[in-house]
């Protein structure tokens, strides 16, 4: 089991190195994330996708892309609301950490890249990033955040979010194919 976890964390580090998602190597390699840190990572990861969606809603002219982005904005907003409600109930304060800082740093670069594009090139870049981002987030939630969570309610919230992120990923892939036509 430990070997599997190490391999998973190594895989996530590989994803980091390719620039798809910058989960902190420090947090993944040796240290187990605490519940306040997991809460911070969860909120950050959802907020990043909301910010990407806001750019798409503003820039895209493709109705399918705009509709998808609106769903991302609402769904990830709902996850944040539930995470905030839970940590408030538990009296946990989300703790900023190397992983959430790294996610934010990578997101700044991605937003800059998205803002520099327009038209079909923008739609493709946005949707490609959504596929990559959701793939990485699902891996991280399933293989790092869920195993590391100690509070049952936080653990259950993360588990219930996985099917949502998987549905988003399939929706993004569907859009990706549609844009290729």
């Amino acid at each position: 089991m430990k070997i599997f976890k190490m391999l998973t964390k190594s895989a996530i580090c590989l994803v980091v190195s390719t620039g798809i998602l910058s989960f902190s190597a420090n947090a993944q390699k040796s240290q187990k994330l605490t519940d306040p840190e997991i809460a911070s990572v969860a909120v950050t990861a959802n907020q990043i996708d909301i910010d990407y969606a806001k750019i798409a809603i503003k820039k895209s002219k493709n109705q399918q892309v705009i509709d998808f982005a609106k769903t991302m904005e609402k769904d990830h907003g709902a996850v944040i609301n539930q995470a905030v409600a839970l940590v408030t109930k538990l009296g946990v304060t989300p703790k900023d950490n190397a992983t959430s800082q790294s996610l934010n740093a990578q997101a700044v670069k991605e937003r800059k890249a998205l803002n520099s594009k327009s038209g079909k090139a923008f739609d493709k870049a946005y949707v490609d990033n959504e596929v990559a981002y959701h793939t990485a987030v699902i891996n991280a939630v399933e293989n790092v955040l869920i195993p590391d969570a100690t509070n049952k309610e936080l653990h259950d919230l993360l588990v219930s979010a996985v099917p949502l992120f998987k549905a988003h990923l399939e929706h993004a892939k569907m859009l990706q194919k549609s844009l290729e036509k």
């Binding site: 769904d75 979010a161 949502l164």
Partner: protein
């Protein structure tokens, strides 16, 4: 002593018809929760639960006139829309909300907000 025996006898006599009436009426009450209409034209009420990004059950056997209630037990909003002929299209269903449709035909349907993964069917029993 005689008086108390007589009172007990009266109480038993009164209680028996009441218990008898309750025993007769209970099954009717139970079925009323799941069925609508007259004896000649009874329609059932089914619930499709939306949870973990799935419609449950994914295939529901129904008859014309039956009522289907979709209950959103998930963490985000959903919709319920038939693929063809605009048979039905719900409002946006926030978590905890329901939407109801009286069956007129079989229909394959999906969630417009999550179209790649959330799909299901209503099948008519005679088809």
């Amino acid at each position: 002593m005689k008086n108390s025996v007589a009172v007990l006898g009266i109480r038993v006599c009164l209680l028996f018809p009441i218990l008898f009436l309750f025993s007769c009426s209970s099954p009717n009450k139970k079925s009323a929760a799941n069925q609508t209409g007259t004896k000649e034209n009874i329609h059932k009420v089914d619930t499709v639960t939306i949870n973990m990004m799935k419609f449950n059950p994914e295939i529901l056997k129904v008859d014309k006139g039956d009522t289907v209630i979709w209950l959103n037990k998930g963490m985000v909003a959903h919709t319920v829309k038939s693929y063809r002929d605009n048979k039905f299209y719900s409002d946006t269903l926030a978590p905890g909300k329901t939407w109801t449709w009286v069956v007129t035909d079989s229909a394959a349907y999906y969630c417009t907000l999550h179209p790649a993964t959330m799909m299901a069917k209503l099948l008519l029993n005679n088809k």
